[in-house]
Structure formats: structure tokens, C-alpha cells
């Protein structure tokens, strides 16, 4: 569904991605692990069109994405739940959800209404808070809102950047259950996480990104079986 080939992305003189290749297959959860500063956010921003790659290609459903402006990428069927959620803090929960459907508002007003109702059904806490400014929500509620807002665009590929960041363990598990459920419903997921154990529990494929390069790829069990990676990212000591 998504193929990233030899992508190089720089901030000025600093290369943050030094030739990254990976694939997200239709219907699967693909997760990207890696330490702080590895380039995970840069990779998602490059796919989303907010950053332009210096070289390499990003293909989605067979069409080239590199160079497509960010506001058009969402219209191709890719939504990003950004790091730190970035909800519209001064706008109500309902306005946030409608903003998520911005790209469809003009041509599919009826569908947007149906989806809004479906989101409020799926996340009852958002219905309770529908008229409240999003900035007054708790971190977990804001994360739910960010996910629901992204879904309002009806993406075929949902990208998530560290959804567990700063949340209590119980809330994190809830979020991962939601991600797994969305995937079962047919949404392809590209998940960036530092919480490797939880991410691997729902992933079909995993990549390890280190200093702008893919250091390892495999199935979750292959990742767990790799001694160095387990020690660094799963905190498992063996032999």
C-alpha cells in the first residue's frame, strides 16, 4: 500500500533520514521503533508532505507522493495523528471533529454527519465533551480526539506518532485496543512508538529506525528474538 524508497530528508545541513526504505502492507499494522531523535517523526512528516524529501520516493497505492503538498496528501487517503496530538485547543470537540473532515466537507456533507455521529458513538467520552474546548480535555481524551479527528477524513492509511506519549498505562492500553480494533475493521496502520512491547503486541511488521537508517526489520517475534534489540528496547535480559 505504502512504499518508501531510499528517502533522504534534511533540516538545512543536517540529514535526519539517510536513505530510508520501508513498506506498509494493506490491512496490516506496521510499527516503527527507535530511540529519541532517530528520525521517526521526520519520516511520518515526509510521508504526510509537510517535509519534502531531498531524494527518494514515496508511493501510495501505486502513485508518487513525494512533492505532493501536505494539504493534498490527506485527500489521497492518508491521515496522521501527530506527536503531542495537536488538537485545536481553543475549539470545541465537535469543531475539532468537523475540522478532521475538512477535505470532505464540501462534497460529502451527509457522510460527514453520519461519521460524526459514529465517532461520538465509538468514543462516548467525546460525546460528553462535545461542546467543550479541546484544551480542557485530559491527555487521554485528547489522544482519543486526535484519533477520531484523523478518522473523520476516512483514511485508508492511518499514521500515528507516539500515541502513548505522556499517558497513564491504563489509558495507553485503551488507545492500543482502539488501534487494534480499527485495524481489524480494515484500516492499514503505520505506528511509531517508543513503547515497544505494546506496539509489537499489535503489529504484523516492525522496523527499527536508528540515526536516520533502518537498522532492523522483521516480524514482532523476530524482533523479540534478536538479543541486542530486546535488550535495548524491550528491557529483556537473556543468557
Amino acid at each position: 500500500m505504502l512504499e518508501v524508497q531510499d528517502v533522504v530528508t534534511s533540516y538545512g545541513m543536517i540529514q535526519a533520514l539517510k536513505g530510508v526504505s520501508l513498506a506498509a502492507r494493506t490491512g496490516e499494522v506496521t510499527c516503527i521503533l527507535g530511540p529519541n531523535g532517530a528520525g521517526k517523526t521526520t519520516l511520518l512528516y515526509t510521508i504526510a508532505g509537510i517535509l519534502r524529501p531531498r531524494s527518494g520516493s514515496v508511493r501510495f497505492e501505486g502513485r508518487e507522493l513525494a512533492g505532493v503538498p501536505a494539504d493534498q496528501v490527506v485527500r489521497r487517503g492518508i491521515s496522521l495523528v501527530p506527536e503531542n496530538r495537536l488538537v485545536f485547543a481553543h475549539m470545541t470537540v465537535r469543531e475539532n471533529l468537523l475540522a478532521g473532515a475538512y477535505a470532505r466537507l464540501g462534497r460529502d456533507g451527509g457522510g460527514v454527519k453520519v461519521d460524526l455521529e459514529a465517532m461520538l458513538e465509538r468514543f462516548p467520552i467525546l460525546r460528553q465533551r462535545a461542546g467543550q474546548a479541546a484544551g480542557t480535555l485530559s491527555g487521554g481524551e485528547q489522544q482519543m480526539l486526535a484519533v477520531a479527528r484523523a478518522l473523520m477524513a476516512r483514511p485508508r492509511l492511518l499514521m500515528m506518532d507516539e500515541p502513548s506519549l505522556g499517558l497513564a498505562p491504563m489509558i495507553v492500553e485503551q488507545i492500543f485496543e482502539i488501534v487494534a480494533a480499527l485495524n481489524r475493521e480494515g484500516i492499514t496502520v503505520l505506528l511509531v512508538e517508543q513503547n515497544a512491547r505494546l506496539a509489537l503486541s499489535i503489529a504484523h511488521h516492525a522496523y527499527l529506525l536508528e540515526q536516520g537508517r533502518i537498522a532492523f526489520r522483521g516480524t514482532p517475534s523476530e524482533v523479540s528474538a534478536n538479543e541486542a534489540i530486546s535488550r535495548a528496547y524491550l528491557g529483556i535480559k537473556r543468557g
Binding site: 490527506v74 485547543a89 475549539m91 469543531e95 466537507l105
Partner: protein, 288 residues
């Protein structure tokens, strides 16, 4: 007591136009995160255009209003194009310096193109003043207040009741997230700039009809009033700008009544300084 009430009423009527200036400033600052020092001077251009038309065509009030707003819009487009869009990738301070240069250009331009420094501006002088008990509501003040209130209601309806307005607020809140939702942030920024310029032009009409004249220093004056109203209101909140403008107007007229005209500006600048120095968490333009 009557003095106090009279000054209060005068202050609210005057302050309503400051609120409009503050709203224009806040819109541009909130959406583009850049300070437009040339906001007052764009209004100056509109008022001079209106003044020229009124000299050539006495008694034509509606065309004068239209030309004033159109002039402010045109000057606004100029500022947006050259100080904001052209410099969008530069640091915000570059835009600010550029708007200062544009300010000087516009100020010199209207001086050069006008027969005298002080130009007349028409006012509907035939409107009667209204007496409410001991309080006198002057016609120009009533016009400022009612006009500004109508414009504010329209602006708030636009921003809070339409999809376009919601998009503007979303960009002001987080332009990054708005981009991810599919919003063309550059286009929304330019549109917000135009809305602000139109609001500025209308504020210019209301203020100029009260002053009945205009000088090239109106640009400085309007920029200072608008920025003060915005900062008093917390730098980035639309309702705050309304309150800030009203507060500034009331402080000015109270000072005028009780201490005399020479203290008026000093006290309002002192108020601005106190608010900026003492408020620990101004919003600095995060969301409207």
C-alpha cells in the same frame, strides 16, 4: 458622578472603534503569528482615498465609505503580498521590519499625493445628539459605537458560525494540524489578512467621521491603538481584543475628563506597560 458616567459612556463609544482595530491586529497576528506594524497605515491609505473622493464629489457618503474600505483593502493586499507572503520562509522579525518599511512608504505616499497635510473627512453632522438624563450621546460617538458593534457582530458570526471562520480559527490554533486536515494554510492566511484589512477600513470610516479630518500620522495612531487593544486583551484572543479596546477607550476618556488631555496618552501607555509587564502568561497568539 455625572462626569464619571459621561466619560464612561464616551469611552465605550470611542473604545468600540479601538476594539475593531484590535480585532484586525489579532486576526493577522493570530493566523500568521507575525506583527503587522503597517496595519494603521493601510487604513490611512483608505481614509485619504475617501477624503480625496469627498473633495471631488461632496455629499457622496456611500461612495466615500466604499472607497475608504477599498483603499484599505488594496493597501492590505500590498502588505500581505510583499511583507508576508514573499517573506513567509523568513523569520517573523523580517516580516515585522518589512511592515515598518511599508508603513513609511504609505505615509510618504499619502503626503505626496495630497494638497495639504490635514485633509477633511465627511461626517453626517446633521444627525442629532441624544440626551439620556444628564448624559449626552454625541452623534459621532453613537455612530462609532453602533457601527463598530454591527461590524463586530458580523465578524464574530463569520468566525464562529461559518466554515470559513472555523478554518481561520483552526489555523490560528495550530497551523500544523490544520495542514494535516487538508487546509491550504497560506491561502487561509491571505484571506484572514483581507478580512482584517476590511475591518480596518470600516474602523477607519467610523474614526475619521468622528475626527472629521486626517493627517499622515493617523497610521501611527491607529497602529498604536490597535496594538494596545490587542495586548490589553491578552495578545491573541478575539473577545479579549474587544474588551481591550473598550478598556483603552474608557481609560482615555476618564483621564481626559479628570486630568486633562495632556495626560490621556501617557496614562494609556502606562496601562499598556503595566499589563505587558505584569501578566505572566500572555497567550502570544495561540488560538483565537
Amino acid at each position: 458622578m455625572v462626569d464619571f458616567l459621561q466619560a464612561l459612556v464616551d469611552g465605550v463609544m470611542l473604545g468600540a472603534t479601538y476594539s475593531l482595530l484590535g480585532l484586525g491586529f489579532t486576526l493577522i497576528f493570530g493566523v500568521l503569528r507575525r506583527l503587522n506594524l503597517a496595519f494603521g497605515p493601510t487604513i490611512l491609505v483608505g481614509i485619504y482615498a475617501g477624503s480625496h473622493l469627498s473633495l471631488a464629489w461632496p455629499g457622496a457618503l456611500v461612495p466615500v465609505v466604499a472607497v475608504t474600505v477599498a483603499g484599505a483593502l488594496l493597501a492590505g493586499v500590498y502588505v500581505e503580498r510583499f511583507s508576508f507572503r514573499a517573506l513567509a520562509r523568513q523569520a517573523p522579525v523580517v516580516s515585522m521590519i518589512s511592515t515598518f518599511a511599508v508603513w513609511m512608504q504609505l505615509q510618504e505616499l499619502v503626503s505626496l499625493l495630497s494638497p495639504s497635510r490635514t485633509m477633511p473627512y465627511p461626517s453626517p453632522v446633521w444627525l442629532p445628539a441624544v440626551a439620556v438624563g444628564p448624559i449626552l450621546l454625541r452623534s459621532d460617538g453613537l455612530l462609532m459605537w453602533s457601527g463598530a458593534t454591527l461590524i463586530m457582530l458580523a465578524l464574530f458570526a463569520l468566525l464562529y458560525r461559518t466554515r470559513f471562520g472555523t478554518t481561520i480559527r483552526a489555523v490560528a490554533d495550530s497551523s500544523e494540524a490544520a495542514t494535516l486536515m487538508g487546509v491550504n494554510v497560506a491561502m487561509v492566511g491571505a484571506a484572514a489578512f483581507l478580512v482584517a484589512s476590511a475591518v480596518g477600513g470600516l474602523a477607519g470610516v467610523l474614526i475619521a467621521q468622528s475626527h472629521q479630518q486626517v493627517t499622515p500620522y493617523f497610521g501611527l495612531w491607529a497602529t498604536v491603538k490597535g496594538m494596545t487593544a490587542m495586548l490589553l486583551g491578552g495578545a491573541g484572543s478575539l473577545p479579549g481584543a474587544v474588551v481591550g479596546g473598550l478598556a483603552l477607550g474608557v481609560v482615555e476618556t476618564q483621564t481626559l475628563w479628570h486630568f486633562g488631555g495632556q495626560w490621556r496618552d501617557l496614562v494609556s501607555y502606562a496601562l499598556l506597560f503595566l499589563v505587558v509587564a505584569l501578566s505572566p502568561r500572555t497567550r502570544w497568539g495561540s488560538g483565537l
